[in-house]
Subunit: 354 residues, 2 copies
Amino acid sequence: MNNTALKIQVEKIKVSKIDQVDFDNLSFGSVFSDHMLVCDYKNGSWEAPKIVPYQPISLDPSAKIFHYGQSIFEGMKAYKDENDEIFLFRPLDNCRRLNISAKRMAMPELPEEFFMEGLTALLELDKDWIPRNAGSSLYIRPFMFASGTGFHASPANQYKFIIATAPSGSYFAGKVKVLIEEKYSRSANGGVGYAKAGGNYAGQFYPTQLAVEKGYNQVIWTDDNTHENIEEAGAMNIFVRIGDTLITGPTSDRILDGITRKSILEIAKDEGIATEVRKITVSELVEAAKKGTLKEMFGAGTAAVVSPIATFGYRDTDYDLPELENSYASRLKKRITDIQYNRAEDPFGWRFKV
Amino acid sequence: MNNTALKIQVEKIKVSKIDQVDFDNLSFGSVFSDHMLVCDYKNGSWEAPKIVPYQPISLDPSAKIFHYGQSIFEGMKAYKDENDEIFLFRPLDNCRRLNISAKRMAMPELPEEFFMEGLTALLELDKDWIPRNAGSSLYIRPFMFASGTGFHASPANQYKFIIATAPSGSYFAGKVKVLIEEKYSRSANGGVGYAKAGGNYAGQFYPTQLAVEKGYNQVIWTDDNTHENIEEAGAMNIFVRIGDTLITGPTSDRILDGITRKSILEIAKDEGIATEVRKITVSELVEAAKKGTLKEMFGAGTAAVVSPIATFGYRDTDYDLPELENSYASRLKKRITDIQYNRAEDPFGWRFKV
């Protein structure tokens, strides 16, 4: 980042919509703040970001977003502490991952200062939209898509980067029941699974619907070749506790390099929890479940933070996980959210004051 | 299809843009006809299609198309014969494949009569936009995307189906040089490769750019596990001629069930050409090239029809294909386009008079 503040043009909303919002009953990502940041890529470069009232986007029907799936996003949160100070969590990591996704999808990388200064300016303007209620936060959605036109199957020549925000309650409620998927897959070797690309999510919906029809909440993705390696849990990274060891799969071109995932690994080490980053097989999981050494499974991601799994299904058998008094999931979730909400020390330097 | 004509509301453009178009110098898919068909899915059902002037689409920034990649499309063409009669080629197959794609991407299936009657009405209204010039046609782009809103990673509750058309010249010019890809992949087993989903295309752009930097035009996709099976050529199906046998890979959940592909197979049989639908390995291809039995390779798809390959590259070696007097590629392309443009008999019943 350079030190010269970027010139961000601001067009304020005439009448705020904030009075229409019930901050005590927020769902996830369905109410949007007054403003958004918009940045256009044209003629080979990014124009200066602007802040404008949250408003519809107008696109030509041949805009490539509609046809060729050039779309990427990030998920972040802004937290307010009891003194109304505002914090982000490792925001530069989101910015850098956005650019990793951009490269894979043949989209232009965004200058880091556009992301960081644009986001900061947006949050300062819409700071009243950041909830104070426990468990609530301002969900931040930076996204980029192809706005350039034409039916030729090739990268667009124009893009839009937008940051929109939504005051939100928690993403999941309660423990989930998951199904280990053996037919459908999330990503290919050499594919785009490591990118936060829109198409990775759309491809999950149908298999997830099938799992829901069978009484599950989510799918556990396995590798597309052997279906023997556990890879992700729905749209989250997955952690497994066998005995007292916390295990997660290694990142790869199929697996997202989750910020919550890597933070949990560091916190676990700091807490003296034994961790392993290695392949986890379905057989190992089933065997551990049968022997009683499978203590916990949970998903990890920005939206839900930690999402404990109560039961996993595999080939018509359900395996229940034990109810633990002092689970790793709850310990790690408390530690990470205490850092995020400025309720505890941050020895890792992850908190970013806005 | 039912026999009752669907009520399609038509709002005509005030002043046609057709006089601004140079029909002798059309590129592919970059000039758009006066009207488009729009159909909205809301509250669990499709509303009646409307024809309106080609115009921008307005969407909420949280519309799921921007975030979760629910987008599918089809590619078709309308042809005009010398009596100005208008024809489509196997249009119901496109309609049915759209619905196969829709199902995989957790999107609502479109009633066939909405597609067929909507398309017919649109073509009748914009018939002057169908070029008469040799090799030119009206490229038709039916597409569907998630217009419903919210940041929750789940299927949208609203969708738009649109048909836009673009008078177009030919897609490719000349023979292409392709690179057999061994690192990047197009699709996973159990993935969405067989659907015409936007994300499948965006994922190809970066590996294609890398191939272009090495002096190739396109990538030949191989399976993501062994990289030993030839699967698609860029965004087209691939055909290989070894000796006098024409071979193409079997369709699967990784490979698109191309309408040009299956038409070419039927025409080849009708022409007495030996055909095989089976896996084609890279080793087989290299060996045949070395022995001189590899006669032809070509891509097949709606946009380019048949796209002959001059050279393929594999692990730093380029293999040139022979120049043939009476190639299968040119024979099959002539036969299929003669049917499409109503210049020859259609024993297959593929031509559809509008």
